[in-house]
């Protein structure tokens, strides 16, 4: 029974979500639900952290739990990243919903159920769990994107995301079906075994591979499957945007590690020119170039952050491709990047939410003009978030980029050029991140223009302080975080 303890973080989140639906009926002060949600999620992260020093991989392979859900350190790390990301999004929402009169109780259970789906997805070791996790997560997010029902853009974003998302899920499902047809297995280990022994029809496997890549690339919004991202990110309310950028992406990346490095790890698929590494490398290159170029021309900060999250997916993909060659080190780079990306983005979105209030939400660059002078305490988290996203020392983003580039250089060959492309595109990225700083510190609002008035909210401040501390900690003393990431990657490969 010992392996069942690994289900505890998941149970904590899902039972918490059910309880919240009940509690919602009795609570007057809705923003208290934000605290409760954050506590539940941090509790789940705490359980995962407590399991860290325990015993893994010793569970009998035939047991019910292990056949569906992973019980390794990678699962624990992804639990913590997702739960912390969701908790930060919930705290930001605590301030945001109250300020904008959107307080409706269903928000927090939806966040919890989506986070649960994301955690299941990141732990899945079977195509069926993968699909269930993905759908559980996505359904919650579809509803959350359209949360501001009365707003046309929000509804449009919800529909757009829902239609395209369903389409991608269908492709993924079709790919899974082909893979099952080719190998006769749905679990990753069995699939790998079948491909290795040559029992699988290789044409069918390649077709399945292509479909699965497309389905997953859609969720991480890799170019050219990114078209929905800017609209969905902009139409959704900002806390939901943060949740999508952080949790959805992280969980899909973790499951990509599992799919590609376990299920499709056979040499004929992971080396040479016909497997997934060249395809993902091409996606990475396209994503970095077009994500950064797209972000440059935006006039809305929120939309810029959407494009920047596309660009970041490109950098993470570099790590994933490198993992085909060097394994552990590249996987730990991916995990480190995900953690750094989670806190930096939560900080950026938190600061963006905080900069606006019910009278005027801060969305465009103009809204931020002169904020550094009017409210320096808000400008500092913004500065930190932007520097971290830019990959500037001494912040989390810098070491994240460093580890990913290091992994690429280690993998050698054409990967070095991918790292060079990554370096050049991050320089291009500096341009639009700097614009935020230009408006914060160097511009004054135009005469008579309405300026955004920062809100007051203890929730958002708590989220920003936490995220800010972690961003700095990961930038100044990255060692302990890296050790955790390597340990998770070690047990895994």
């Amino acid at each position: 029974m010992s392996e069942w303890i690994f289900a505890a973080p998941l149970l904590c989140v899902v039972l918490g979500g059910l309880a919240m639906m009940l509690v919602d009926a009795f609570v007057e002060e809705k923003s208290e639900l934000a605290t409760t949600t954050a506590v539940i999620l941090i509790g789940a992260a705490g359980i995962s952290a407590a399991l860290w020093s325990g015993d893994y991989g010793t569970a009998p392979t035939g047991s019910l739990m292990v056949a569906w859900l992973a019980t390794d350190k990678l699962a624990l790390v992804s639990d913590v990243i997702i739960a912390v990301g969701a908790a930060l999004a919930a705290l930001i929402a605590g301030g945001y919903l109250k300020e904008h009169d959107l307080e409706r109780g269903e928000f927090y259970p939806l966040i919890l159920f989506s986070a649960f789906g994301a955690m299941v997805l990141a732990r899945s070791v079977d195509l069926l769990t993968l699909f269930i996790g993905l759908e559980t997560m996505s359904l919650g997010v579809y509803a959350l994107v359209a949360f501001r029902r009365t707003n046309a853009r929000s509804a449009e974003a919800g529909i757009k995301y829902f239609l395209l998302g369903s389409f991608a899920a269908a492709l993924l499902l079709l790919g899974s079906a082909y893979l099952y047809g080719a190998t006769g297995h749905t679990d990753f280990v069995g699939i790998a075994e079948a491909i290795k022994t040559g029992a699988a029809d290789s044409r069918l496997v390649l077709l399945a591979l292509a479909l699965i890549i497309v389905g997953l690339a859609f969720k991480i919004s890799a170019v050219p499957f990114h078209m929905w991202t800017p609209d969905a990110y902009e139409g959704a309310i900002t806390p939901v945007t943060a949740f999508m950028a952080v949790c959805v992406k992280s969980s899909v990346f973790v499951v990509m590690v599992r799919v590609f490095l376990v299920g499709l790890a056979a040499p004929e698929l992971s080396s040479g020119s016909s497997g997934w590494p060249p395809a993902l490398a091409a996606l990475a290159a396209l994503t970095m170039v077009f994500g950064n170029l797209g972000a440059m021309v935006q006039t809305s900060v929120k939309r810029m952050l959407a494009y920047s999250s596309i660009a970041h997916a490109g950098y993470i993909l570099i790590g994933l491709v490198a993992a085909a060659k060097i394994g552990e080190q590249a996987i730990s780079a991916v995990l480190y990047y995900l953690a750094a990306y989670t806190v930096s983005n939560a900080l950026a979105f938190g600061a963006l939410v905080f900069a606006g209030s019910s009278k005027r939400e801060a969305v465009s660059y103009e809204d931020l003009a002169g904020l550094g002078r009017r409210n320096p305490m808000l400008a500092i988290p913004f500065l930190l978030a932007v520097l971290s996203l830019m990959g500037f020392p001494p912040t989390a983003g810098f070491f994240a980029k460093y580890y990913v580039f290091m992994a690429a250089v280690q993998a050698g060959g054409g990967m070095v050029w991918l790292a060079v492309l990554g370096a050049l595109t991050s320089a291009a990225g500096a341009y639009y991140y700097l614009r935020v700083l230009v408006f914060l510190f160097m511009r004054e609002p135009a005469e008579g223009a309405k300026v955004a008035i920062p809100m007051r909210s203890g929730y958002v401040i708590t989220a920003m302080v936490f995220a800010g501390v972690v961003v700095l900690q990961m930038g100044v003393a990255p060692s302990s975080y890296l050790d955790i990431a390597s340990a998770a990657a070690k047990l895994f490969t």
Binding site: V416, V438, M442
Partner: protein
């Protein structure tokens, strides 16, 4: 900051006779990747650290009245800047160096962008992006060396003393040197990467210009002598003629541009391009006099150009214009100011008895003796026309500003240099003469390090030649083409 200078005086008492590093301190930061906090000084970095601690408080004090908004933040930026500058000069760990190198961009960016002139945002973004593009490529190169070191030695290290044991294969060296050289050449700035400099200088507040000219530009040349040349001796050997041609072009082009400027500050900015051409020429002549002269010239340029910017700042504060046409006959109303300006001009031009003379003489001498350059005579010849041109443009400026009729009514009744301004300028003037009459004070501490650098460099050059016969033949071929380039440039003048 004054305290900082007093503390740094203590460093002079160290033993610099052996040419090795003094005051070495070492703490591991990220043991898994061999990143450590390793700092130390030798006779080369000693003077740059002294220059930094000497000029920074003066620059801040000079801003006493000209900065009237956000004074606290300005001082904060200056302190951060000083930390990063000293850190970059004393870092012996390549990773640490990179962190400081990037770190000093932010305060400088803010200083130009917040307290600068009309076009400050354009100038600050241009400054930031130029430097960022170069340094990100350098970052990939740093990662590459560390990876190469790990393959040879079995563990990561970024310690420059360990990394310089690696002898890389010729073609790789060329690529990596190219990446480093681009980063440093942009910072120096070498022709044709200098276009950010006039913008940044003209828009920056006086204090910012002083630091930019006196210290920040030295980062580039220091980077060449401390990192690029010892790490890639073969590549530097092959690139040397090309870089020297660019240096000579920079000397003459910068001087011509300075000559035709209408704005005094822009004139001084272009004169920096010209002066740093001398430094680069000295470094890549790879002779004892050349390298020693180049390092001395770095310090000299810091003092005299720093003083020039301060003097321009003095007149700008009184008249709010810097156009040469607006002045004339100032000697009648501001005799003391005129005297100071003429002294600094003489030092900048390189009149015997001032600091500039010693440095330029050593550089030209070293260029003559260089066995590395194809036709040292022509290099030295064209470089010395730069000295003449320097006299032309500086004296042209002095003539326009101080002599002639005092015909502009606004210039009548201008106050002469005040007590505070004199306090700032006096130490600089004192240094001009101290370096001019007693250069051995400086050279004695510097020479052992320069000799050690050259010994090491030549030894490694032999090593890599030995390992790499094929590429050596190519070097012979490229040598003749660069000779043609040199002649071509000669025709152009």
């Amino acid at each position: 900051m004054l305290l900082e200078f007093v503390v740094s005086l203590h460093l002079l008492t160290g033993d610099y006779t052996s040419g090795t590093y003094q005051y070495v301190a070492n703490y591991d930061l990220v043991p898994a990747y061999g990143i450590a906090y390793t700092v130390g000084l030798d006779g080369i970095s000693l003077w740059l650290v002294m220059l930094t601690t000497f000029v920074t408080p003066l620059a801040l004090y000079a801003s006493w009245t000209s900065i009237d908004t956000k004074v606290k933040e300005f001082a904060l930026c200056f302190l951060f800047l000083e930390v990063a500058m000293i850190g970059a000069f004393i870092a012996l760990d390549l990773f640490l160096f990179y962190v400081f190198w990037e770190l000093l961009l932010v305060p400088m960016y803010l200083i130009i962008g917040i307290w600068g002139g009309k076009e400050r945002i354009y100038a600050s973004v241009k400054f930031f992006l130029y430097t960022m593009v170069g340094s990100l490529l350098m970052f990939v190169a740093i990662v590459y060396i560390a990876t190469a070191y790990r393959e040879l030695a079995g563990a990561y290290s970024f310690d420059i003393r360990k990394l310089s044991e690696v002898v890389l294969e010729g073609k790789t060296q060329m690529f990596l040197f190219g990446a480093f050289a681009l980063a440093f050449a942009i910072k120096v700035p070498m022709f044709p990467f200098h276009t950010w400099l006039p913008d940044a200088h003209v828009q920056a507040p006086t204090g910012g210009s002083v630091i930019l000219a006196a210290v920040l530009l030295k980062m580039g040349t220091y980077g060449f002598v401390r990192f690029a040349m010892p790490l890639f001796p073969l590549a530097s050997h092959r690139f040397a003629p090309t870089l020297c041609v660019l240096a000579v072009v920079g000397i003459i082009y910068g001087a011509y541009c300075a000559w035709v400027q209408k704005d005094v500050k822009k004139l001084v900015a272009y004169s920096s391009v010209s002066h740093l051409g001398f430094v680069m020429l000295g470094l890549f002549s790879i002779t004892r006099q050349g390298v020693g002269g180049a390092i001395l010239q770095m310090v000299n340029h810091g003092i005299s150009t720093g003083a020039l910017f301060l003097l321009v700042g003095v007149i700008y504060e009184r008249r709010h214009t810097r156009l040469l046409a607006d002045f004339g006959g100032l000697a009648k109303v501001m005799p003391l100011y005129t005297l100071l300006f003429v002294i600094v001009t003489m030092s900048s031009v390189g009149l015997p008895g001032t600091n500039g003379f010693i440095g330029e003489f050593m550089v030209l001498n070293g260029t003559f003796l260089s066995r590395n350059l194809p036709t040292p005579f022509f290099f030295a010849l064209f470089a010395s026309t730069g000295v003449i041109l320097a006299a032309v443009y500086m004296l042209h400026a002095v003539l326009k500003m101080f002599w002639g009729p005092l015909d502009n009514p606004e210039n009548q009744g201008l106050a002469d240099v005040g007590g505070r301004e004199l306090t700032v300028l006096a130490p600089l003037i004192a240094m001009v003469f101290l370096l001019g009459f007693a250069p051995s004070l400086f050279l004695d501490r510097m020479n052992p390090s320069v000799e050690a650098f050259l010994r090491d460099y030549n030894r490694k050059l032999q090593d890599s030649n030995y390992n790499d016969n094929v590429h050596l033949l190519k070097a012979e071929a490229s040598r003749s083409t660069t000779q043609q380039v040199a002649l071509h440039v000669g025709d152009g003048q």
